[in-house]
């Protein structure tokens, strides 16, 4: 098997249909007799429902049904919860965990603005919205908890009264001897950093279409989800249906970013309405709904201290971490422990103590979003390292040289578990090499030489560094089915949903090489539960590694079957038969070559005789990964600050990264670029803002500012390839990485630009108003 496609810059096969406007997104799913749903959502962050009157809505034009909790009580099962600690982790750390069930419709109380109170189904979306306005609710507003630190204190208004506290996850974890490290330090740097609430904001919002076939008792639902098998499992158990009677199809997705990897009330309500009414129902989330009801993300506070020697060697780390969960603790230990497992990053720090509290507040529930705890924790760490460098008068590049783990120290064992319960051991990489590559690409030394002269002319430019090491491709597996059809063409079905990152291209590259067929002969379908029995989905930078290796495994099995059949057909020993470019042949005898179609057809029984082999050219594989692979990168940002207005311009942005073996460098570049764009959003623009009453003030894209192409600087990527020993393809995960470091790198660059003012940046986004206030405070 040669690597003809793996590693090649193949242009994305799915792009022509997207560029022609022929993508088939959720809203493009049309079914005869479709009804449309709209939701009445809670206008209060915390309020009891005393009464709901729906008569006016029910009699409004075009309305087919109005559902409240009482109307659907027999259908109301708690929505799925995630994030229990796996055994290896539970054995090492004592987690205090509280999770409360959320129902798809508010039963007697709303806990955040946007929680669903009632569902209207009508003959058009506009009429459904008109009717939703006609529903009258008697609300009794209740006290709200909006500040995560205050909410963690005794006496705060409670989100879930049964808990007696708002703390949903709490734990303490330590490695080494942190007390001794701090006692022996020359210097201790302490600061509190705030990472705002910002979100994935896919261009295509969420949505669902459900069709109930009463005759067969079967449900088909299209859902703009990254995790169709999870949605299937949730529906099968909530509706009491066999799994094979619930088909979930993720159509083309206009982005996911984790936002579409949570379980949502609408996933259940749309199918329930279709079953109850016996008619197909569609709901497409509009942007206003998306702002308040799609999962929010980030939002942490770190009170961090570094203990160091005068030469910059970091001896120990303490961090007290708060995480704002929003109203429900849907994801358990996932975000808090991700935060802890990535805090140290590329630094050689053997002594650490963290105290973590994840706190419920009356806001939209929080969920993993591209990075999932890593951008937050890297912000705290890399800002702290820069602050330490400034205190010790060491260049930010130099202090990292002194603290980054060297390549010869790998595999590097932290002596603590990763989030999957397996030992946290860095597998491969070269962090100092990434640092030097990024500095070189960004002309770091030259930049420093010019910086002072520019400052003398009133031009404030700065350069900032951030590095991370990321556990990627969490297991345990992904499912993939590979089958060859009568024409010798290949269908790959996988549980990994393509949410825009080019699976139809990269997985076809893996398959074409593993099977020995032309790329054009391969079709990849992701996210249809009918295509592969068990699947997990696309999130956590996992699909390349998990689905990629499953596809390769399945292809190897199918290839063996094809070789056996071809050997029979060609009257050769299987060991002498090879497959290349869609042809089976006896090695060394080119004239023997037959197309795979011929091999398949010869295997099908005829009236005259049985086939040359069983025509079973299909295999399903569930490649098990032992634990995560560690991808890494160093980002360098160059900025210019207008000290008269506080406006920040990004001049250049460099990423030197390692994601193991690269399937397709074009796709890797695209993934990095998209991630960086979202990181830039976190650094400078994006923030979900609530007032003290828990009202969401950023209800539209006029207020919640997503950067556009116009805001992005030239992005340069340097690919370093350190294969992972943890999977046969040598790959590491890639999807999230780009989003992790920009907030830290850009904040570091801004602080660097403003060295003459001594500005301390402790929070993002760094808006012009905030930055000018800081400049004027210190000036």
């Amino acid at each position: 098997m040669g690597a003809k496609y793996f590693g090649a810059a193949v242009r994305r096969r799915e792009d022509p249909r997207f560029l022609r406007g022929e993508g088939r997104y959720l809203d493009d799913v049309k079914v005869a007799g479709l009804l449309h749903a709209a939701f009445l959502r809670a206008p209060y962050a915390h309020a009891a429902i005393r009464a709901i009157r729906t008569e006016r809505a029910r009699s409004a034009p075009g309305v087919v049904a109005v559902f409240t909790f009482a109307d659907l009580e027999t259908w109301m099962k708690p929505l799925p919860l995630f994030g229990a600690p796996p055994p290896g982790l539970a054995a090492a750390i004592a987690f205090e965990i509280r999770q409360a069930p959320q129902f798809a419709l508010c039963r007697d109380r709303a806990r955040y603005v946007g929680e669903i109170v009632a569902m209207v189904v009508a003959d058009s979306r506009a009429r459904a919205e008109d009717a939703a306005e006609a529903i009258e609710v008697d609300w009794e507003p209740l006290p709200v908890a909006t500040d995560m630190r205050q909410a963690a204190e005794a006496g705060a208004p409670l989100v879930h009264e049964a808990w007696g506290t708002n703390v949903g996850v709490a734990f303490t974890h330590a490695i080494g001897n942190v007390e001794a490290a701090f006692a022996g330090a020359d210097v201790v740097m302490s600061e509190t950093f705030h990472i705002q609430r910002y979100v994935g904001m896919p261009l295509e919002s969420r949505g669902a279409v459900a069709v109930w076939d009463r005759r067969d008792g079967a449900l088909t639902t299209w859902n703009s989800t990254q995790v169709s098998h999870f949605v299937q499992q949730g529906l099968a158990s909530a509706l009491g249906l066999p799994h094979h009677k619930v088909r979930v199809i993720a159509p083309d997705l206009g982005g996911g970013f984790g936002t579409k990897a949570s379980g949502y009330p609408e996933d259940h309500l749309v199918p329930i309405a279709a079953i109850v009414l016996g008619r197909p129902v569609k709901w497409v989330e509009d942007r206003r709904e998306h702002m308040m009801s799609a999962a929010h993300a980030r939002h942490q506070i770190h009170a961090i201290s570094l203990a160091a020697r005068r030469d910059g060697t970091i001896l120990g780390l303490r961090d007290r971490i708060w995480l704002d969960l929003g109203a429900y603790n849907v994801w358990g230990i996932v975000l808090p422990y991700n935060t802890v497992a990535h805090l140290i990053g590329p630094h050689r720090i053997r002594n650490m103590r963290v105290d973590v509290q994840a706190v419920t507040t009356h806001k939209t529930p929080n969920a993993p979003y591209r990075g999932a705890g890593r951008p937050e924790t890297v912000f705290a760490m890399d800002r702290a390292v820069d602050r330490l460098a400034r205190e010790l008068k060491i260049d930010p590049a130099e202090i990292r040289r002194r603290n980054y783990i060297r390549a010869d120290e790998l595999p590097y064992d932290f002596g603590m578990p990763y989030r999957d319960g397996n030992p946290l051991v860095y597998d491969s990489g070269d962090f100092p090499a990434a640092l030097e590559a990024a500095l070189k690409a960004a002309d770091y030394d030259e930049f420093r030489r010019g910086q002072a002269a520019l400052r003398a002319r009133g031009v404030y430019r700065g350069i900032g560094i951030s590095g991370y090491v990321e556990g990627t491709a969490i297991g345990p597996f992904e499912g993939a089915t590979v089958k060859v059809d009568l024409g010798g063409r290949v269908l790959v079905a996988t549980g990994a949903v393509n949410s825009g990152q080019g699976h139809e291209t990269s997985f076809a590259q893996v398959c074409a090489d593993a099977l020995g067929v032309p790329l054009e002969h391969v079709t990849v379908v992701g996210g249809d539960t009918a295509g592969v029995p068990f699947g997990v989905g696309t999130f956590a930078s996992r699909s390349g590694v998990t689905a990629g290796n499953s596809i390769a495994d399945a292809c190897h099995q199918v290839r063996a079957k094809l070789v056996k059949a071809a050997a029979a057909l060609l009257e050769a020993a299987p060991g002498d038969v090879d497959i290349e470019d869609g042809q089976a042949f006896v090695r060394g005898v080119p004239a023997s070559a037959v197309p795979l179609a011929r091999v398949v057809q010869a295997s099908i029984p005829t009236f005259a005789k049985p086939g040359v082999a069983s025509p079973d050219f299909e295999a399903t594989a569930y490649h098990h990964v032992p634990t995560v692979t560690f991808a890494s990168a160093v980002h360098v940002a160059q900025v210019e600050v207008d000290v008269g207005t506080g406006h920040v311009t990004l001049l250049r942005y460099v990423v030197a990264h390692d994601c193991g073996k690269v399937i397709n460098p074009l796709i890797v570049d695209g993934q990095v670029h998209g991630g960086v764009a979202q990181g830039v959003g976190g650094a400078l623009y994006e923030e979900m803002v609530y007032d003290e009453q828990g009202q969401l003030l950023t209800g539209s894209l006029m207020d919640y500012l997503v950067p556009t192409a116009m805001e992005l600087p030239p992005l340069e990527t340097v690919h370093l390839e350190f294969p992972s020993p943890r999977n046969p393809l040598g790959m590491k995960g890639l999807g999230e990485g780009g989003a992790i470091s920009p907030p830290a790198a850009i904040a570091n660059a801004i602080e660097d630009a403003l060295q003459p003012f001594g500005v301390d940046i402790t929070a993002t986004p760094v808006s012009p108003a905030r930055l000018l206030a800081l400049i004027r405070e210190t000036a």
Binding site: R125, R288, T645, L705, A769
Partner: protein, 289 residues
Amino acid sequence: MKPAPFEYVDPRTVDEALDHLHRHGEEAKVLAGGQSLAPMLNFRLARPAVLVDINRVAGLDGVTETNGALRVGTLVRQRHLERAIDGRFPLLAAGLKLIGHTAIRVRGTVGGSIAHADPAAELPALLACCDGVILTRGRRGERSIAAAEFFVGPLMTALAPDELVVETRWPLPAPGTGWGLHEVARRHGDFALVGAAALVALSDGQVRSARVAVFGCGATPTRAAAAEATLEGRVPTVALIDDAARAAASKLDPHADLHASAEYRRRVARTLMTRALSDAISRASGSAR
């Protein structure tokens, strides 16, 4: 995000449009480019009973030059004006480029932006800066309203509910007039957090006339009279420009929102006035040489 129910009419003449406006008064809303109104409809923030779509009304989409002024029909798209200016009004050309993005300017109309009267929008401020005039028509006849009187509050104008903006008149700056325009927006194409525009004419090294407008800094676009008075008849030194901007900034009544405090707006208005004036003066002296 579907609009509340409304009746839709699409008149073909101004008189027909005025009949609808007269009949429905405050219940009617005029639809031109829809770049502000359509989102407000979809958010159900605007709930007109009748939507009067004037896009098919003839004769409102011309750009002509008469008596030293550009006469811009109310339906002229911002993108159309951007191309039609042809060097005659560089300040206006620069301001148009800051409105949203090309796709927005292709739909958005000049008259619509003026009638909508967003205090952070460029066109109302530029019209105020050049002493422009708004031509309106109602059933009782035409009015021509100076920009200074037209903008009365955030999204509020001197336009009566049964009147229509039919034209805006933009006096062309005299040859040799220098211009400056600076704004701070969170992103390219966003409404300005704050902005300042200036037109300055010099004679014999002294300021003959200075016109400065600030936007995004209070309820309406504001002429910086204090800055203009400070400069006129004086030699424009760096210190004088700074004094002028400071004097004008102290008279502003800025608002606060999610993106910037009032203090930020006042401070940056001063900075941007200084920059706009410096640019205008340097351009004016450049062309004088």
